[in-house]
């Protein structure tokens, strides 16, 4: 895929973001709802760069996926606190409503989805890899107002978490699925300690699970996979082996090789 060099576009400028609301999602994950004056809008799946500046002028940057739908007035970032995370420990700790930092975006034009794309939507998430996929589900719910429209664009999410208490957006996912007559199916797999009377999956994502959850390749689902590298690497390879067109499998990974 190549294209002629376009005329220079305008620079993606740094903007001031003010924290309007903080939502504690799990013990290690937090959502920051941001007011960003002049925000140009985004597509579900895109991310932003965040820049923090200390009083002595020291700066550092990180990238975070956008969790909110394009239809939302405010930009939401959902951030997982990483061990020794220079930026995540600040954003998941120190900050509160009214605090400000800089961000620029939206960034990324490939790992994106909107309702104009045909074909069912298959999402595979591991841990905080749910974040850009949640933007897609929120967009689907906001853009397709009635059940008929949603029925034409079914969606399935396979979401792997260590524990039930680690599941991000759990209540909202239940609500979205319940309000959607099974046109949105959310399937959890809990790899460590499942809750009592658990009847969902209780193992790492494997080929049988992917085959059970996904549509047949002939339906040409649009597939988005996001999570730790080994999960993404495995799921993408297996879905491809099950016959899904590689061009329809889009991936985003975090963490080093071999991390869990």
């Amino acid at each position: 895929m190549t294209a002629p060099v376009a005329a220079p576009a305008r620079r993606i400028e740094w903007r001031s973001a003010t924290i309007a609301k903080v939502i504690e999602e799990t013990s290690t994950v937090r959502t920051l709802i941001l007011d960003v004056p002049g925000w140009p809008g985004h597509r579900a799946g895109q991310h932003v760069d965040v820049r923090l500046t200390a009083e002595d002028g020291y700066q550092t940057q990180r990238s975070y996926s956008i969790a909110s739908a394009p239809e939302d007035a405010r930009v939401a970032l959902t951030i997982e606190r990483l061990r020794e995370g220079e930026v995540s420990s600040y954003l998941c700790g120190e900050v509160h409503e009214g605090d400000r930092f800089e961000l620029r975006g939206p960034i990324g034009g490939y790992f994106v989805w909107d309702v104009s794309e045909r074909g069912p939507l298959l999402l595979v998430a591991g841990g905080s890899g749910i974040v850009p996929l949640m933007a897609m589900l929120r967009h689907r719910a906001a853009a397709l107002a009635d059940t008929k429209a949603r029925r034409a664009l079914p969606a399935r999410l396979l979401y792997s978490s260590r524990r039930w208490s680690d599941v991000i957006y759990r209540a909202e996912l239940e609500r979205l699925a319940a309000g959607d007559d099974d046109v949105l199916q959310v399937r959890h797999t809990i790899t460590r300690e499942p809750p009592p009377q658990w009847n969902g999956f209780h193992r790492r994502i494997d080929r049988a699970m992917l085959a059970e959850v996904s549509w047949p390749p002939a339906e040409r689902p649009r597939i988005f996979i996001c999570g730790p590298t080994p999960l993404v690497e495995f799921a993408a390879t297996e879905l491809s082996a099950l016959g899904h067109d590689s061009a329809l499998i889009k991936t985003e990974r975090f963490g080093p090789t071999g991390a869990t």
Partner: protein
């Protein structure tokens, strides 16, 4: 003047590291994986590498032929546009200089621009001058071992003075071009050249 983030202190890198870090980057000891789609797995028996000139003339090497060419080694820092930098990585492969000499013997002519074309459909554009004089190679050994598939094995382009998306994984062809063209990420909002020291991350960055 940038906005101060209340209470943010951060972890400043040591001075030596700081001088090795391009603006906006931080050091990682891991080797993160970033790919837009599934990892291709082309068997070595079917693998080859091609240089194509603007007239469509080809110079092609299969895996054994490429491995028989003189090797080059490089210890270098690498810088990913997603902000991580990794210091002192060790690579081995065949330099683009060597490949161009071999290609010239087969009647191919150079051109000022190139497009790296990869298994899986990925492309990225690099000026030829950024690949010659020891600046670029087709790398297939990383830290003394065969390059793992998720990091671009069997072979990737290595052009470490540019952001690492230019070091195309699973490279199969270097297409010489008279005029610059945008590759995959360059068509999707990323900078056409990608110099980390000038922080050329996205389209429109200076």
């Amino acid at each position: 003047m940038s906005l101060i983030s209340r209470g943010f202190r951060g972890r400043r890198p040591a001075d030596a590291q700081r001088q090795s870090l391009p603006p906006g980057q931080y050091e990682t000891r891991d080797f993160p994986v970033l790919s837009a789609g599934p990892t291709p797995h082309t068997p070595l028996a079917k693998w080859d590498f091609t240089i194509r000139d603007v007239h469509g003339k080809l110079a092609r090497w299969n895996w054994d032929e490429l491995n028989a060419l003189p090797r080059t080694r490089l210890t270098t820092d690498i810088h990913c546009v997603t902000k991580w930098s990794k210091f002192g990585t060790n690579w081995e492969g065949v330099s683009i200089d060597t490949l161009l000499v071999e290609a010239a013997k087969r009647g191919l002519n150079p051109a000022p621009h190139t497009m790296a074309v990869c298994d899986g459909g990925y492309t990225t554009n690099v000026p030829l001058a950024d690949l010659t004089d020891g600046k670029g190679m087709v790398a297939f050994i990383y830290e003394g071992a065969p390059l793992p598939p998720e990091h671009g094995g069997p072979a990737r382009l290595l052009v470490p003075h540019l952001y690492f998306w230019k070091s195309a994984k699973w490279v199969r062809e270097l297409r010489l071009m008279e005029r610059d063209q945008a590759g995959f990420w360059e068509s999707l909002g990323y900078h056409i050249y990608g110099d980390p020291w000038r922080e050329q991350r996205y389209t429109g960055d200076p």
